[in-house]
Each structure stands twice: as C-alpha cells, then as structure tokens.
C-alpha cells in the first residue's frame, strides 16, 4: 500500500518544509504540503500540523487556525483513529481546537527559548512513540515563546496516561532547571484518550538527521518511523 501523509500549511508556518523533507527524504513516505483551506482528509492516512506561527498568533497562539476548515477535516480523522501530530504551533492549535486538553501559556521567563534540550518518554503506547521505550531520554530542540503547559485537570491526565513526554535532564531526572518554560509537571507533550492525537512543543523534524544534532543523534526520526509503522499496521 502507498501511505500518504499531509503537512497542513497555515499562513505563518515555518517548519512545514522541514517536516516534508524528513518524511519524503529521510523516512521515504509520500507527503504533501497542503494549504489549510484545501486540505481534504479523505486523501490522507495521517496529518501533521507543523510548527512556526499561524495568522500572526493574534489573540492567542493557535486560536485562529483552530477555526480553519482544516481542523473540521482533521476532526473526522480524529474520530476514525487516523494519527494527528501537532508540533509546537501545531500543539497550540490542537489545544485551542480542543483535540487535546489544557493550554499553552507564555513561557515563565517571558522570553522566546530556542535550544536543544532533553525529554523523557512517559508513554510509548501511542502511534508516535511505539519505536521508543518508556524512560528513554531524547535529544531534541525547542523554539517557542508560548510553551508553558497548563491544565486544570492534571489528575485526570496522569490517571489516563496522557502525558507522553516530560522535560528532563540528560539522565532522565525531572528538575526545575530542565524545565525550559515553566510547564506544569515538566510536561512537554500529551495525547488524547484514544492515543491517535499527540501534541508536543519540541521539534522532531529538526532532530531526524545526525548532521543537525549537536550529539549526532537522530531521535526525532523515531516519531515519524512510529507514525508510519502505526499506519501500515492499521491498514
């Protein structure tokens, strides 16, 4: 079978081509860049909402894009179990569209943070983490101004194992120093109850080739390999 993945482009997206490059040239899966008003779910097995900005991030990051017709299409995929991955601004869009619980607030430092950090895998039972092991520590970059995860229902998130990644030090310890934005419980990424929708602030598409990583790691590739394997097994 031929797998087809879409990367939805909103006005202001700037990590869209990175995601396309990794999927097409590193993973080897047919991936299309689709303008948000033209996105039709029926043509695709999975979708990625990329990082960058959308609609100037006016009012709140992701809120205007959350009302785009692309999200109505993606809601159909959400319901029938196809994988939806939101990276950075994509994560913000998914929370504003209520695909995922909680919200992403301005970093506690009030600064845009752009650096390589570590995250620890909390749940490898998702379509995006099945190639990882729980407790694995990944090298991955972040670049955001509004990444402070907040929820008014942390208990439920923990009980349902919806926390997929937490910021940690390189030994996998959750320290305040390792938390780059003040996120509640060091949360870096979460999924929905059904596990087919995940959002995270770090950028796997920038961590999928050794030449781009300060430690020559390719941990970001695991996200896309996992997603592709999930789609193959599903069909």
């Amino acid at each position: 079978m031929t797998i087809k993945i879409a990367v939805v482009q909103f006005p202001g997206a700037n990590c869209d081509l990175d995601a396309i490059h990794v999927l097409n040239n590193v993973i080897g899966v047919e991936t299309s860049l689709v303008w948000h008003n033209h996105f039709k779910e029926a043509e695709f097995d999975g979708v990625i909402l990329p990082g960058g900005f959308s609609f100037g991030d006016y009012l709140r990051a992701g809120i205007i894009a959350a009302h785009s017709p692309a999200l109505d299409e993606a809601r159909i995929m959400l319901k029938d179990g196809r994988p939806i991955l939101g990276i950075c601004n994509g994560f913000q869009i998914l929370t504003e569209a209520e695909f995922l619980p909680g919200a992403l607030l301005q970093n506690d430092s009030l600064k845009f943070v752009c650096k390589w950090i570590n995250i620890r895998v909390e749940n490898n039972n998702t379509p995006f983490t099945r190639k990882m092991k729980n407790g694995d520590v990944l090298d991955i970059p972040i670049a955001h101004g509004e990444g402070r995860y907040f929820t008014d229902n942390l208990k439920e998130l923990e009980e349902n194992q919806q926390i997929v990644f937490k910021y940690s030090d390189e030994n996998g310890k959750y320290t305040q120093k390792a938390n780059p934005n003040g996120s509640m419980e060091n949360i870096a990424g979460i999924c929905n109850l059904e596990r087919n929708c995940m959002g995270l602030m770090p950028h796997p598409e920038r961590a999928s080739e050794a030449i781009l990583s300060p430690k020559c790691t390719t941990h970001g590739k695991l996200f896309f390999d996992s997603m592709v394997e999930f789609i193959k097994r599903r069909s």
């Binding site: 809120i63 504003e96 619980p101 909680g102 607030l105 301005q106 970093n107 009030l110 008014d152 003040g182």
Partner: protein
C-alpha cells in the same frame, strides 16, 4: 424596534491558578524596585472594545458573551471573561 449602537469593553484575565509572569515581572522588577511597596497584587490581561448593534444593554451583553464562548475568544481553561463596561453610543 430600532436597534442602537453599544460599546462593550471586556477584559480577559488568567485564572488565579494559572501563573501570570507578565504581572509578576511588573510587580517584582518594576514596582517593588521603585519603592511602590503599597502594591500587593497585579494581574495582566487582554482588553477588547467591541461596538455592536443591539436592542438594549442586556441584549448587547448577551450577544457578546455568547460570541466569546462560541468562538473561544477567551480560553476557558486559563482565562476568565469580564465585561467591564457597557454604554449606549
């Protein structure tokens, strides 16, 4: 009945449980450092002024509240919506 124009001012403020680093910085790094120790609390937020046609003040408030809820003009997870002023133009 002829509709009139109303101006509604609303503020969107983070809920008490959501930290507000903008306000914390204003208080800690500006007000406290300049000797304004009488200030006990600061909260920041967003402000919108909306002008609309409505039958009366109550109608105008209801329309704006419904609109803000339906379109998530405020984020109900983290923010409270306050109508701070309504006036007939």
């Amino acid at each position: 009945m002829d509709q009139s124009e109303f101006e509604i001012e609303i503020s969107l403020e983070n809920k008490p449980a959501a930290r507000d680093p903008v306000a914390e910085t204003i208080k800690r790094d500006l007000l406290a450092k300049k000797g304004y120790d009488i200030i006990s609390r600061v909260r920041s937020g967003q402000y919108l002024r909306i002008i609309l046609k409505a039958n009366n003040e109550e109608d105008a408030k209801e329309t704006v509240t419904k609109m803000c809820n339906a379109l998530r003009i405020f984020n109900p997870v983290t923010q409270n919506l306050n109508i701070i002023n309504v006036k007939k133009l």
